[in-house]
């Protein structure tokens, strides 16, 4: 056991340990050698495994995603780096029409053990084409497992689970949780075992227990919700904070149980508001806990605009600790008044 700062090294270590165990794993993508996929998810692998197993591709998302599909169909397990999730557009056809569907369409003949690792999120001024979250797009499509690690411990365990899964799994690592020195870090250092271990998909984590409301979040919104919960606690409001960890599969049971207990639910998301994670989670929570709800479910997400560049604009659209706090406070107030 040692302390790790952030998810990037944890993910790279998970890949390293699985590569050592399984010689069918290869790493593909842009800048995966010298730069460790820019956000560190493949750091150290090039030094250890060389260019034979850690392969810099040309800037050709469509083609390297398609090559992952083809390689997986004959027994490899490609780990594909999509440098920023925003670049998915350039490779999306191979992802959503093939990677996600070939197993199903082939009547189960074609396995698709592919792990895609991508960087998400804003908050550091990278503007509309490099700051999106977009996991809702992938969660919407049948055939992808959607993993959003928040902590270093989860990042390692979830990545190992992904690398032992026979299905396409996409790991969405938030840039402000990577722990890399050139970016702000909003996570916390924590103990992570050196040996391999797995974290099961479809199990949300209750990060903080509470009585008055449930805040449901993923990725960067989890530490921000935890900070908001501390502010709420100073006013005597007890917030439960749940980290989804995986959007697909989704741990409905934990969400519904918490909603029944607290009666008030706020869903916080850094993805776009409409037709996304918040709407889906709200639907599932109300379906299981309607009778226990004391107020309508509330949500806070990026209003339906692209992420603007300038700081005052960017911080207006990405949910902050303060705005999570305010939304939670007003939800509890509204419930009490009702």
């Amino acid at each position: 056991m040692r302390k790790l700062r952030g998810i990037a090294f944890a993910i790279a270590e998970a890949i390293d340990q699985e590569m050592a165990r399984n010689d069918r794993i290869i790493v593909l993508g842009e800048d995966v050698t010298y730069w460790g996929a820019v956000f560190g998810f493949t750091m150290g692998l090039f030094n250890k495994y060389g260019r034979d197993r850690v392969v810099d591709t040309p800037i050709t998302e469509q083609t390297f995603m398609g090559m992952a599909v083809g390689a997986a169909s004959v027994g490899m397990h490609p780990v594909v780096s999509l440098m920023f999730v925003d670049f998915c557009g350039a490779g999306f056809d191979q992802m959503f029409n093939h990677m996600a569907k070939n197993h199903y369409m082939s009547g189960g003949q074609f396995p698709m053990p592919v792990t895609v690792i991508t960087a998400i999120g804003g908050g550091y001024g990278d503007a509309a084409q490099h700051s999106q979250v977009l996991y809702g797009l992938f969660a919407h499509l049948p055939g992808f497992k959607v993993v959003v690690p928040t902590t270093a411990y989860d990042a390692k365990g979830l990545t190992i689970t992904a690398l032992r899964d026979q299905n396409p799994v996409i790991i969405f690592g938030h840039k402000l949780l990577t722990g890399l020195p050139f970016l702000p870090f909003e996570g916390e250092e924590e103990d992570v075992p050196e040996e391999p271990y797995t974290v099961e998909f479809g199990k949300a984590a209750v990060r903080r227990e509470g009585r008055d409301l449930t805040i449901i979040a993923a990725g960067l919104m989890v530490p921000r919700s935890l900070k908001a919960a501390e502010l709420l606690a100073r006013e005597g409001i007890s917030a439960e904070v749940i980290d989804l960890r995986t959007l697909v599969p989704l741990d409905e049971a934990t969400l519904v149980e918490s909603a029944r207990k607290t009666g008030r639910v706020l869903i916080v998301d850094e993805d776009y508001l409409s037709y996304g994670m918040t709407g889906e989670v709200a639907f599932r929570v109300q379906a299981g806990a309607l009778g226990s709800l004391k107020a309508p479910i509330q949500r806070l997400a990026v209003p339906d605009v692209p992420i603007p560049f300038s700081e005052p604009l960017e911080s207006t659209v990405i949910p902050s600790v303060q705005r999570i706090y305010e939304a939670a406070r007003s939800l509890v107030g509204a419930g009490a008044a009702a």
């Binding site: 842009e30 810099d56 603007p308 300038s310 604009l313």
Partner: protein, 346 residues
């Protein structure tokens, strides 16, 4: 020197005259390249405010990634000095030199890079997303996105019967993208007034060209689509200009597309903060000897069209213009927060 031998004075006079260049045009190009150099260096200087000693991309007056084009000035100026106001330029994640060369106001450009309300896009776009409808300039942070968009503009000019051209800039990394091949095919097929300019600076982010390209040069690919293709010394304004003159002239006169591959070098990292593990200092120094501004200055002196004092004056003038642009950006107000929620639809 890089691709072609340095011409004798007699040959230089011949080449310059044949390209339709004269003292005025060359001095103007020199000043323009100096403006770009100063602008980029001043942006770099301001970018690191608040980012030292610990480099934090989110800190300081300019946030996020920053891709500068120091060293690549001759490509932008060599091509864009042949364009008219109505011609379209679509650029890349490294767009400042193209923008300035296309005539974008340095003040509004700087203000956008600083995220100010007075910027080209009112602070919404930022350094990789610069748009100027007046000067028909756009760019994208997504690699490979420029080619089809410039082709679309060229397609429209053809349909509308306008004698304008579309110009797409892209790096040699972008030329590995599907859009490059797809666009060349369409451009050749429809005989579009399109010029694709590949700035081949040898590295796609950190990935060296040898690890990413199956051929030696990308102009070979253009030839396979029946698109006339040129390989030029991108560190030499005159060499870029004379190829671009042919390409633009032909496109404007209905004779179809061209590809120009300009071999050049970026003196700074892929982005600011880049540790540059993928190249050596010796390599960088070798390319510094080919500095396009120094080379054009030397040629102006050889031709007897400028002395050191003239060159100094042009450099100083350009530097002051860049400083004024930065000062304008620094003293401009930030946008109001509610601006963020407007403008998705017209």
């Amino acid at each position: 020197m890089l691709i072609k031998p340095e011409p004798s004075l007699e040959d230089l006079r011949y080449i310059v005259a044949k390209a339709g260049l004269d003292a005025d045009r060359l001095l103007k190009a020199y000043r323009q390249m100096c403006l770009i150099r100063s602008f980029e260096e001043l942006i770099a200087d301001r970018y690191y405010i608040g980012k030292t000693p610990q480099f934090n991309m989110a800190a300081g007056p300019i946030r996020g990634e920053m891709h500068l084009a120091v060293g690549q000035e001759a490509v932008a100026v060599g091509v864009c000095s042949l364009l008219e106001g109505g011609d379209v330029v679509v650029s890349t994640h490294r767009p400042h030199h193209h923008a300035l060369a296309k005539g974008v106001d340095p003040k509004k450009l700087a203000a956008e890079i600083f995220g100010k309300a007075t910027g080209l896009c009112r602070g919404k776009g930022g350094h990789m997303h610069l748009f100027d409808a007046t000067n028909r300039f756009a760019c994208s942070g997504i690699v490979g996105a420029s080619f089809p968009q410039a082709a679309g503009a060229a397609f429209a000019f053809q349909k509308l019967g306008q004698r304008n051209v579309g110009v797409a800039f892209g790096g040699e990394g972008a030329a590995n993208h599907g859009t490059f091949a797809e666009t060349l095919n369409m451009a050749g097929l429809f005989n579009l007034p399109l010029i694709i300019v590949i700035e081949d600076n040898f590295f796609a982010d950190s990935t060296p060209k040898w690890a990413a390209v199956s051929t030696v040069h990308h102009f070979q690919r253009g030839l396979s689509f029946n698109v006339p293709s040129y390989l030029v010394d991108g560190m030499d304004f005159i060499d870029v200009y004379r190829a671009a003159k042919e390409a633009v002239g032909r496109a404007r006169n209905g004779m179809g597309p061209a590809l120009i591959e300009a071999v050049c070098y970026r003196y700074r990292g892929h982005f600011e903060g880049d540790a540059e593990e993928y190249r050596t200092r010796e390599e960088l120094e070798r390319w510094r000897a080919l500095d396009p501004i120094l080379r054009l200055g030397e040629r102006l002196k050889r031709l007897g069209w400028a002395d050191e004092a003239t060159l100094n004056r042009l450099r100083d003038e350009a530097h002051r213009e860049a400083e004024e642009a930065i000062r304008f950006a620094e003293t401009s107000p930030l946008p109001e927060p509610q601006e963020a929620l407007t403008g998705v639809f017209r």
